[in-house]
Assembly symmetry: D2
Homo-oligomer: 335 residues x 4
Amino acid sequence: MNVGVIGTGAIGTDHIRRLTGRVAGARVTAVFDVDTARAATVAAMAGAASHREADDVIDDPAVEAVLVASPGDTHADLVLACIAAGKPVLCEKPLASTSDAALKVVEAEVTYGRRLVQVGFMRRYDGGYLGVKTALAAGRIGEPLLVHCVHRNVSVPPSFTGDMSLTDSLVHEVDACRWLLDQEIVAATVVDVPHSPLALPQLRDPRLVLLETERGIVIDAEVFVNARYGYDVRCEVVGTTGTVALDAPSTGVVALEGGRVQALPMDWEARFGQAYVDELQAWVDAASQGTADGPSAWDGYAATAVAEAAVASRGARTKVDLAERPGLYSGESLP
Amino acid sequence: MNVGVIGTGAIGTDHIRRLTGRVAGARVTAVFDVDTARAATVAAMAGAASHREADDVIDDPAVEAVLVASPGDTHADLVLACIAAGKPVLCEKPLASTSDAALKVVEAEVTYGRRLVQVGFMRRYDGGYLGVKTALAAGRIGEPLLVHCVHRNVSVPPSFTGDMSLTDSLVHEVDACRWLLDQEIVAATVVDVPHSPLALPQLRDPRLVLLETERGIVIDAEVFVNARYGYDVRCEVVGTTGTVALDAPSTGVVALEGGRVQALPMDWEARFGQAYVDELQAWVDAASQGTADGPSAWDGYAATAVAEAAVASRGARTKVDLAERPGLYSGESLP
Amino acid sequence: MNVGVIGTGAIGTDHIRRLTGRVAGARVTAVFDVDTARAATVAAMAGAASHREADDVIDDPAVEAVLVASPGDTHADLVLACIAAGKPVLCEKPLASTSDAALKVVEAEVTYGRRLVQVGFMRRYDGGYLGVKTALAAGRIGEPLLVHCVHRNVSVPPSFTGDMSLTDSLVHEVDACRWLLDQEIVAATVVDVPHSPLALPQLRDPRLVLLETERGIVIDAEVFVNARYGYDVRCEVVGTTGTVALDAPSTGVVALEGGRVQALPMDWEARFGQAYVDELQAWVDAASQGTADGPSAWDGYAATAVAEAAVASRGARTKVDLAERPGLYSGESLP
Amino acid sequence: MNVGVIGTGAIGTDHIRRLTGRVAGARVTAVFDVDTARAATVAAMAGAASHREADDVIDDPAVEAVLVASPGDTHADLVLACIAAGKPVLCEKPLASTSDAALKVVEAEVTYGRRLVQVGFMRRYDGGYLGVKTALAAGRIGEPLLVHCVHRNVSVPPSFTGDMSLTDSLVHEVDACRWLLDQEIVAATVVDVPHSPLALPQLRDPRLVLLETERGIVIDAEVFVNARYGYDVRCEVVGTTGTVALDAPSTGVVALEGGRVQALPMDWEARFGQAYVDELQAWVDAASQGTADGPSAWDGYAATAVAEAAVASRGARTKVDLAERPGLYSGESLP
């Protein structure tokens, strides 16, 4: 399958590298980036054409499917163009900058009549999360009541501002919990917590967020993007008869100088690199059949809507005002 | 040191067994219980006298120190009587049923002029909590920002009603966090979460509580007294440069039928049995010098005040209205 | 790259599935199996031709590289034919049934003058083993002195007989240790241990083997192919200042009925599935450049020679009689 | 119970501190040490008399039981004197410098007709070992086949010479395995392994020892007394249907600078401090009834005999030449 890639920054280039060298059945044949020099370099590396406009990638007759990895505020329009062209598209999160814009994507896809859009929530392809999902589906812990989440990054660049820890980081917890629990999140509250003096002043970091699902399950999520010590993602679901939790991934234990040390990943590539490969493989497999796998436009919309409610909450419980879910998305999950 | 024990129910009898067989320097010489038959049996076992009234234990000239393990609503008056008699007393938690009653104990002790009262917050003597305290004191994780606590019991008896998961269970987290962080808790909020269908209907179980310290640190605490699978107490302090957490205690790993299994304790005796012994030893050592160790009347008062605020909160942030801390309690911790 | 696969049993079919659906840059175009019906089915599935003889796969002009997954006693001749045809070949372990036969492969490749042969020791591509290798290379534990290995299978089929736990299972430990320590194993001793009554009587199971490297490091390896409870592979290297060990891979922790349970893999696919994919990707990448990656014919020869010494040892320390290592194999490892 | 202590070096003083401050029912009333100044200091601290000769402690009419913590070569004679005096005695390991001397103690106790002697194998009182014992007794892993042991110290003083890693360290593994498996060890082999350049030259360190029980179970034990990184004791019993292992004891997990760190104990006090207290409590309880608990003179004899065989083995399997076990020791364990 010939893939066109829009956006050849760090994430786009990583995806191209994976599509070219780690995934079966795909070839990158066209790319675009506003940084034309960078696009040219990446195109040469991948043996792809470098186009002048993002839309040229979508319209390129040789391109069978599109991967969108440009800045977040360009996502919705590009995905709409892909739908208009009838081409499968994998869109990095977020699907759109606002829930309104995301809803337009949902509506366009519903009008088109078949799923073309996959959103890049790669955690659904992580072995750890899949293990939690399997345990829940098997009823091993009874009925879920609570979820405890932690999302810690070592640090963020100065470009990371304002509420991005909610709109860019927390959305992963939102999608993961919706998927694990198979239900919508209907309310969000951001609790006031102290700001780390080591975080940039324009951020509120860490954040503690309470989320509530349609059936009343409460999720507490710590998002801490300047945690310094490592990239640490945790999730424990507490049920009526037991709990299930992500385990720390491991690449060995070193016993040294009075301690037994498990190395921690320092970034998402180390933690979720394999999940990205598996996400891309699943996407290529589905897109070559003209459709999409896993997280849908609806999932992208719902995650954005929850993040919006969290941003608006300022300490008070805030309802998530979700549209009605179209039948197109009433697949195996989230009835 | 001759000890008189008031209350020979399960906890009182366990304490007598420890004082008699596991602790150096103590002898149980007098007991009282409203169940006089039971008191007589226990007295015979311990080689102690069985008195007709609780006050007779306190007034017994041979008794040098008193251990109070009777029902919670009797605690404050008995401790006041001990102070009046000038005898060191270890009082099981809670120190009193209300913060007003607890404050009266504080005032009486201040008037007496020396610490006589120790409250039974045994976690301060647990190796795991001591390890967390040591790491914090050494500054290993920078400045604390957040604390995540979990307190799960297998189940509770039918006598466990209403808000006891706040007044009887949560108080352990309250005391542990005050001690670990060396600061007062000034606000509490109980968040609405689903009720476990396996818990007795008169309870709200689990509970999710947010606590806030005087310097703004936020503590989230899950209290789940019908967790079924085990007795599981966890605590992770998140700091600016790292985190420190209680580790699961272990009595071996069995690899069996597709899993590696770490046995969990099923009750507090299995989890904190050694902490109780160490608590009693520290108390006997201090009481034989005419004073007390560790958790003070002030700590008992503060824990009760925070639990009261939590009970009153009904989902809204509720201030803890603490009295001013007397100089008597401005020792090494909580300046 | 067009790949021909010889042997379409369980392992061969798994490899075809991975080459087709998980690896970039490969296509299976020809297959052979003595079970012609099975070969035809697999060929149809993969869109490949089904040949009448194994040699027809090697000689097929469209086939650019060959994967050998037929029974072990056919390996050496097939690999020799690949070398004669100048085609890269990935040969499942063992490279040959005897060290003499393996040495002939080495000699043929040396005569050919370039590495064409890769042997299927997939552990070198496992994230856990790579973590141990990295720690050793970084000198984190000082100088290695001892290695403790465990290799446990749930069970083996009745076809697993005699000394196969040495020639088929232990060879993985042999290769992993040679690679981790970067030195040859020069002696082997099988220690008498009790036979498990649950293992087939024709086996000696478990086995305890002592191996000795050229610089005197001692490796003890338990091989237990009827361990029942799970597929459990462990390796700890003990150095002068610390130790480094494989960690248990994990897909989540379930707390249930008095225990905290980490699920164990039950077979090599669950444990090393990703390592097989990564092995194949590395092979495809190298073979498309006309050469091979990782474990060489020499490594296959050395592993077979050590297993032979182990079989011969009968409780007495037995020297491994290694040929001199040709310059072709004096790459980055094993100077 | 009035206890006399012979030997007030580090271990003796630790025991006195525990008997005085952590154990119920004991009082140290007499001490002796060849270093009379030290003995006087310790005596003053404990409120005990300081005697001129070791035998004076034993003969002191006020002394009801004796604890022997003097150098190992004095043990046997002192224990014999205690038996002659009919006084219960807790003897630090080893019971004697030679198995012949130990056997004389056994014979004297048999003649006396009742157990008076307890040997200081404290691991039998450790919660971790007790968990392993319980799992074995419950048949959770089927029939034991193999045991893997590790015994690592940070370092040893220059006075630690020659074969002491066998006679002083390995004996703990010998006793623990005899007790866990409930059978005698009948053969020992020390395998040649490289010497750590960081260990004193007069030692062979580490050691790898193979032990064999009367029913053929094989134990491999690494003893490494200059392991540098921590005090690390491990034990895994491999059975027909599962395995059971000591878990690492923990006092908290710190996540810091790219790693999750479990602190390791650095010495036996940190690792087995509580086991020593529980051992002493059990001894005081038994001795006050005129007898002994746990490890017997026979156990001390057997451990010494196995260590002797190990020392003599020099790489060859060496039989342990055990005397016939007297009926006095045919209690609940080791039929």
